[in-house]
Amino acid sequence: MSTNISIDYITHTFKGADAPTLKDIELKIQPGEKIALIGRSGCGKSTLLHMLAGLLLPSEGCVRIHGHQVSKPSAKWNMMFQKASLYPWMSVRENAELGLVFAGKKDPAKIDYLMSLVGLTDKADANVQSLSGGQQQRVALARSLATSPDLLLLDEPFSALDAFTRSSLQDEVADIVSREDLTMVIVTHDIDEAVAMADRVLIMSANPGRIVGEMAVDLPFPRNRASVEFSRSREQLMNQFESLVGDADLEHSQAETVDTNKTESETTDAQKAA
């Protein structure tokens, strides 16, 4: 079953930091929505996602799922990371089943189904270290889905994969999310990924992290990356992103900040824009 989420004026200051990382974030997510969160490195996307997962509590404000305040992690809202983080002493199957084992509800039939859903039936008994990066992320996806979550939180889950694997996994995950009637929030650096997977793209800016704009992507699934509509959405999002957070960044580079972090994020973005 899907879930409505509301983020009520979250502000977060990390211990020891003098300025807030997130400020006054307010957001409502409808059941079944696919949200992409884009923004420069360090603007607080992962921090916000951790709060949705209950892995981090905001210093002010709260996250509500179904009207209930999120105060701790739960297998009902599952997070996937850039690294698959599989447990190497467990087989593919045992990894996927872990959430069910924790809950004391082993369900071999369900794992069989998930293995076929992510296309790993013939690898079910393999050592996870023998899998490719893409296959490992599929195992992580199966593991996240096993506990029947309402909400799937993805923190740049495909950014370590090659372009072909990445785009096919984007389509598969979007498809699974629709079919299983989940709500999804994906954090990404990749405009293409946002347009390929999301109904709604939120743009975050840094210092302090806040949501400065959003754009609906009104294309049917599965999305055709070669279509004119796709290119148009992509361009529109790129322009909107540039106008909302691009300028701020330009000022920084003209001021020649010595902050190495900033310089690094500018280089990656320059590469992306090229």
């Binding site: 983080s85 002493w89 809950a103």
Partner: protein
């Protein structure tokens, strides 16, 4: 190590059909010839030492130390059950000492690895205690324990706990933080986190600590068995010295070395079994 590589080599040759002579050659070299050469050098040096002792009028009464009388005596002692009789109590003491060391060292090591506060509070006392020679505890052990056996087990445990504790702590600190995050997210409670994530993740580190612990425990065992007890390998050595049976003494030294070697082999195979690192 050498046995695994040889197995793959033989597998490879079988697939090609026919015997891969270069693999067989390599196997016989690493698994048989090199160890035999090592043993030969060791025995040769021993023989040389024995020869020098025998030819020096001041030391010639110790001539039975030499390899020939020692091995002859060793065969007798194995045959009449003396070796087994001496070995069993020693292994029991080692086993109990290691068990106590692990029962205390692993949980404390896990706590040190997980919690910075525990780590910082325990740092000074543990580094201090660790530096005290286990044998320095002897008088205290004798006072504190009613039986000699209890005192010996205590001395072994005191020696063995540190490598187990520190290796466990180090293993915990090396665990990928994401593994904790994912498990928490999947609904793991504290005991599930310990049983399903932490312990499997550090199994090999625990046994790497046990391996070091076996080494020091085995070293401490012999002098500890000079204490009151009338059984065990240390007692047998002490007894042989008192009765001037130098061939028995040398034979028991060989026994101690061989058993230590096998105990180490058991630890190495446990480390291998619990290791989840991908091959190669």
């Amino acid at each position: 190590m050498s046995s695994t590589s040889s197995v793959t080599a033989i597998d490879g040759s079988a697939r090609e059909g026919g015997i891969n002579w270069s693999a067989v050659y390599k196997f016989s070299l690493t698994a048989i010839a090199y160890p035999l050469m090592g043993i030969a050098v060791m025995v040769a040096l021993w023989w040389l030492g024995g020869w020098m002792i025998a030819n020096n009028p001041d030391t010639s009464s110790f001539a039975d130390f030499a390899p020939a009388p020692a091995f002859a005596r060793l065969l007798d002692l194995v045959a009449n059950g003396y070796v087994l009789e001496a070995t069993i109590p020693s292994l029991e003491r080692i086993g109990l000492g290691l068990l106590w060391a692990a029962l205390l060292g692993v949980p404390v090591g896990v706590a040190i690895g997980l919690y910075a506060v525990v780590r910082e509070v325990s740092h000074v006392p543990f580094q201090f205690l660790r530096m005290i020679s286990p044998l320095a505890w002897m008088p205290i052990a004798v006072l504190a324990f009613e039986t000699w056996d209890g005192a010996i087990v205590f001395l072994i445990a005191v020696a063995a706990i540190w490598p187990i504790l520190f290796s466990t702590a180090q293993g915990v600190r090396r665990i990928d933080p994401l593994w904790f995050k994912v498990a928490k997210n999947l609904g793991a409670d504290g005991s599930q986190m310990l049983r399903r994530i932490i312990l499997p993740a550090i199994g090999q580190d625990i046994f790497a600590g046990v391996r070091l612990a076996v080494g020091v425990a085995w070293i401490v065992l012999v002098p500890a068995e000079y204490l009151g007890v009338t059984s065990g390998l240390g007692y047998a050595i002490n007894d042989a010295r008192d009765t001037l049976e130098y061939d028995t003494l040398a034979a028991m030294v060989v026994v101690i070395g061989i058993i230590g070697f096998f105990l180490d082999g058991i630890c190495v195979s446990m480390i291998k079994r619990l290791s989840w690192h991908a091959e190669g």
